[in-house]
């Protein structure tokens, strides 16, 4: 719109159509870069300011507590990225996280390490498949299916634990506990899953199909791609990852905490959106989600440090405001890109 923006396109004479992709207007290029890498830029900025002004922030004990305590919850955002890429949403992950934790503790309590790992995986996969089938085959709105899923999984958890009265403990000598111990084990597990997720999204047919699906479902169906199967698999993946996260979380905490996980779906959605994945689907990246979760974790750490007297209510307020701001910015940025 302004003269400076038009200059690069106006100056060189257009020799061939092949040169056309280079001539995307500056404004549009900036907008697209901001949307994709904005979270990373803000993350670097916030971390730099925090390191410069606070003596405790850049210490290893603080960083390891940020990483070790939060890493498993980031898996919810990983699964959510896939779901949101298809234009859907999965509100059941918070309940699934809690259910996975209780199942793992129950498994470790009764059967040992293998049962502790397999039971949550199986239940998470089954629950996710059920939700996926309702979305993909019955054509129901994702948010209402997973909202019912949120309620149902929480109910299942309550039924398993005598209405929350029984807390299953992971035996102190169980090998299962080692999955959640220290800083490095959680970080390595979560990093490996993020890398696997990124490869799945960018290098496989499944990833290409789900991206296409989020871009234009009708076109994808007309191209003969397996729309219903891909959608079902996406919810299966999200449910399994959430249950896994819960299981690993209970390995760290040493028990299946029944009241955990309320509202985690909101943080997961916020991380994905902050990471630059479009809520309408079809565009996004796992790397962006990683930036999103790190940014939120650093901000929460700073809030806990500076505003601890206000408690978690202040964190919630900032969370909500931040999410609104980012979504607003994203909408404006993507509009800038479409206008030209």
């Amino acid at each position: 719109m302004s003269p400076t923006v038009l200059q690069p396109t106006a100056l060189p004479p257009d020799p061939s159509p092949a040169a056309a992709p280079d001539q995307v207007p500056l404004r549009e290029r900036v907008a697209s870069q901001l949307q994709r890498r904005g979270a990373l830029a803000v993350l670097v900025l916030v971390a730099a300011i925090a390191s410069a002004t606070s003596s405790t922030f850049p210490t290893w004990s603080n960083i390891s507590s940020i990483l070790g305590n939060n890493a498993f919850v980031w898996l919810l955002a990983l699964g959510m990225t896939f779901v949101i890429m298809t234009g859907g949403i999965d509100l059941s992950v918070g309940s699934m996280y809690a259910l996975g934790g209780v199942l793992a503790a129950y498994g470790a309590h009764t059967g040992g390490t293998w049962l502790a790992l397999l039971l949550p995986l199986a239940v998470g996969a089954a629950w996710g498949t059920l939700q996926g089938l309702l979305v993909a085959r019955a054509g129901m709105a994702p948010f209402i299916v997973t909202l019912a899923g949120l309620l149902g999984a929480r109910g299942l958890l309550q039924a398993l634990t005598n209405e929350g009265a029984t807390t299953y403990l992971v035996p102190a000598n169980s090998a299962f506990r080692s999955f959640g111990a220290g800083t490095w084990t959680p970080v390595v597990i979560v990093a490996a899953l993020f890398v696997a997720g990124s490869l799945l999204l960018t290098r496989t047919r499944f990833g290409a199909t789900l991206t296409a699906l989020g871009g234009n479902e009708n076109a994808t169906r007309l191209m003969g791609l397996p729309v219903a199967r891909t959608k079902t698999l996406v919810y299966l993946l999200s449910g399994t990852l959430a249950a896994t996260a819960g299981a690993l979380g209970s390995a760290r905490l040493g028990s299946g905490v029944t009241t955990i996980g309320v509202g985690y779906e909101l943080t997961a959605i916020a991380s994905v959106v902050i990471g630059g994945t479009l809520l309408t689907g079809g565009s996004g990246s796992i790397g962006g989600t990683l930036n999103g979760v790190l940014l939120l974790a650093v901000i929460h750490n700073l809030i806990d440090h500076y505003f601890s007297q206000y408690g978690s209510a202040f964190t919630d307020t900032v969370n909500g405001g931040f999410l609104a701001l980012v979504v607003l910015l994203q909408t404006l940025l993507s509009r800038t890109q479409q206008l030209s």
């Binding site: 209402i144 299916v145 019912a148 109910g155 039924a159 909101l266 959106v273 209510a313 919630d316």
Partner: protein
């Protein structure tokens, strides 16, 4: 089976689904009521009916606002948080009398609705995300206003609003009934109601035909916020305490359930006020019957989840899409 017979059986199925969508909730409500009375005749006692009315009134208020929002193909997840905000604000201003405290609570509800509505209408953010951010942020704000613990409420006017009756029926139920009547009139008899439904049906076409899309959308979310704030005041009055950390939790879910069970499609373009009233009562009765027969809360939750799924499936519009 001949093609003809097959076609007619499909037609029968479609007609059945259509009937289910139109009248299912009334039939289910009647059946449930009959079962409840059959299991235990004391269900009909005046005290029990009054308890049910007290409990259903706030949900119904919120559900009415939600029905309007869903009619525009939107959703308002912030209603529970607005209830919490209203619960946090009322005790702060009760010293100036109930009318002023209530006015401020309703005003803040309207502001929350306006913010959500503006995000939806002006910047075209999806309703679910716009109101999600409000849901998180506003509840945090409410807890900040209130402080750590629940506050007891002793103001006699507010307690009277929450527990008194007029002609044997709780005041809260009268207010909810009045609002339902108003909502019905708005949807059926006013330009605003027609515009709201038109926008839910096809926003693009409504905009092109010159309807004030943005204004109507914002107004709808403001209405939802005000109704939720009113429900919050009632909840505080009935419970005699203000507890923003817990009051209104999962209210958005109950309200959406009531609307959906009442046969309003989530795809917008239709608002069923009477259906919503029946839906709210149905969910209230289900919970009451299960609780009164000692079914654990966990099973109640699972059953409610199944009912939501079934109701959404039945109320879906079946077309070529």
């Amino acid at each position: 089976m001949s093609a003809d017979a097959w076609a007619s059986s499909v037609r029968d199925r479609d007609r059945l689904l259509h009937l289910l969508q139109e009248y299912g909730v009334y039939a289910a409500l009647t059946l449930l009521f009959a079962v409840a009375v059959g299991l235990d005749t004391s269900f009909l006692s005046v005290s029990n009916v009054r308890i049910q009315l007290f409990q259903v009134a706030p949900t119904l208020l919120v559900a009415l606002g939600m029905a309007l929002v869903i009619g525009t193909e939107g959703i308002d997840l912030s209603v529970g948080a607005v209830i919490a905000l209203s619960a946090a604000i009322v005790p702060l201003y009760l010293g100036y009398g109930l009318p002023l405290a209530m006015a401020i609570a309703l005003l803040l509800g309207a502001v929350c609705g306006a913010v959500g509505g503006a995000m939806v209408a002006l910047t075209r953010i999806q309703p679910i995300v716009a109101t999600l951010s409000l849901m998180i942020g506003v509840r945090g704000l409410a807890e900040l206003f209130n402080g750590d613990s629940a506050k007891p409420v002793t103001d006699s006017a507010l307690l009277a609003l929450g527990s008194d009756s007029f002609a044997g029926v709780p005041l809260m139920a009268w207010i909810a009934a009045g609002c339902a009547l108003l909502a019905g009139l708005v949807v059926r008899r006013t330009t605003f109601g027609r515009q709201l439904v038109a926008i839910g049906d096809n926003r693009q076409a409504s905009r092109l035909s010159g309807l004030p899309v943005r204004r109507v959308l914002i107004a709808v979310y403001v209405l939802s916020g005000v109704l939720a704030a009113l429900a919050g005041v009632m909840i505080v009055g009935h419970g005699a305490e203000a507890d923003p950390a817990n009051q209104g939790l999962t209210m958005e879910l109950s309200a959406i359930t009531a609307v959906v069970v009442g046969g309003t499609p989530l795809s917008g373009g239709r608002v069923r006020v009477l259906g919503t009233v029946a839906g709210a009562h149905f969910m209230q009765l289900i919970a009451a019957v299960l609780t009164q027969h000692n079914v654990p809360a966990s099973y109640t939750q699972i059953i409610e989840a199944a009912i939501i799924c079934f109701a959404v499936y039945a109320s879906q519009e079946r077309g070529t899409r």
